[in-house]
Amino acid sequence: MCRDSVGMTESIVVTDGLTKRYGDRTAVDDVSLTVRRGEVFGFLGPNGAGKTTTLRMLLGLVRPTRGTATVLGERPGNPSAVARTGALVEGPGFYPYLSGRDNLRVMARYQGSAEVTVDTALERVDLAARGRDAFRSYSLGMKQRLGVASALLGDPELLVLDEPTNGLDPAGMADMRKLIVEMAGHGRTVLLSSHLLGEVQEICDRVGVIANGRLLAEGTVTELRGGSGLFVRGEPVDVALAVAMHVAGEGGVRQLDGGVYVDLLVERAPELARELVSSGVDIQEIRPSERSLEDAFLEMTDGSGWTASEENPS
């Protein structure tokens, strides 16, 4: 579902060396990233990687220890930026004794926007039927959806959604992803964080990978996955390995799953096959192999990537 990001050149969010320390602990370390207009930008990382702290800094909730951030051309927390941004950060926070609808009415009043937008927002997240029930009676998924509805109030240009599918059932997750893609399709920019690789791979145009507070990579899903390669299985393995290294260079070859991964374009498969056969290798299998984002992510974080590629070709 990835869409072409060509033409999305206007930067909506820019951070430069953004750092947040709590005592000795560095929660976010020197993060520099750019989110462009109209894209779905995925902030990907394991729990505790610093995603939420970064989003909080972008919303003006937390002051950076060092570095700068610009949101919609303003500093974070600036009234003009706040008015054009909708956010759900670290779970929904609402008055438990008020109904979902009244909670949104309070937020619409705080915005100074018309309360009629409340019903539209409730419908968009499919909560209109339960809008008059007390927030405390909501399920986890309903609370999450109310949080997204609150972010949608006032029809903001930029949506910052921290783990928006948390607590949702599979159908709810699919609906939420559809909503996010649709918003981007209508010119909104979405910055979402997630620890779910599949989710990010499915809906994000570009991704920033964060672990231990550091931004490890930023790019399109395709860029991060890297180019596709070839998987070869043949006997004897050492000869196959030597031939592959001869063709693709030493750095372009890895042994895995009883075979060899070769960093070569698929178009060069016949050339590799010829070399293997002429060197006396019995080829049992040769096929294109594409890394999933998960592999790329695991490789970036602890070097244990590639292993899952055979089970999860994408």
Partner: protein
Amino acid sequence: MTVTTGWEPVRTVERPTGAGALWASVRAEMLRLRAWPAVWVLAGVWLALNLTFAYVFNYIAYTTGSGNFGTGEATDALLADLLPDAIPRVFTGGLPMFGGAIMMILGALAASSGFGWGTWKTVLTQCPGRLVAFGGTLLALALVVVAILIAQLVLDVGASALIATAESQALVWPDVGELAPSVGGGLLISATWAAAGVLIGVLTRSPALAVGLGLVWSLVVENLLRGVAGLIDGMDYVTNVLPGTAAGSMAGALGATAESGGDGAPGVLTVLSGGESALLLAVYVVVFLMAAALTMRRRDLA
């Protein structure tokens, strides 16, 4: 999540700024305070306490001829305090300690519950500026305090008129010139305690801790300090300017019977003059709220 409404093209949003934004925050906060059961419970408890201790018990004491709580106050004087024209001097009698404690709980809950619920975080991502949001909360809280005192005044007028009628006394309404300073003094006392509650609430970020610490201070610590002031030289310089002393002196200056008299309301004092206590209370309100606002403005909402 069926999409039932089409998306408009992205457009520039017009949002209120300055005083308009502050008014928007007040409206938002009023909506949620008005619907909050805790606010109604606190207001109800205070109004019931006031009615019971200022009128019901004293009227029973008068009709049974037992004097004020058995202390033997002349029954005529007892009846005089229950009539409408006595409202200016009895209005603030319960406020320094009991009403003040209720107002402090109100302020503490209003300011601190948003940290636990995560509503401050949500509000600050919707509202143009922290001080606008916090200012809205303070003004809405002020409106609630004013409403509670107006309700107290209405109840006092009703109860005293009923007693006057039952006892065949002439209905002499209080002089506005006396009533206005009394209600104003009541407002200052209430505002001071509510502001103290807000500050403790913002500092602790926890409703339970804020309410607990605030009550220990207002009901216990201040009284103990005033108790030891006579034993330690110079201690009275400190105890004379505590918020509770100022609140108690305000009520005392407005005519409420001081606790030192033996049959006065707890917390009512005659340490400071009316002017001194009014000034001190006003200073406390400003200092408490400034400190709370500065903390709100600077703090990380993690």
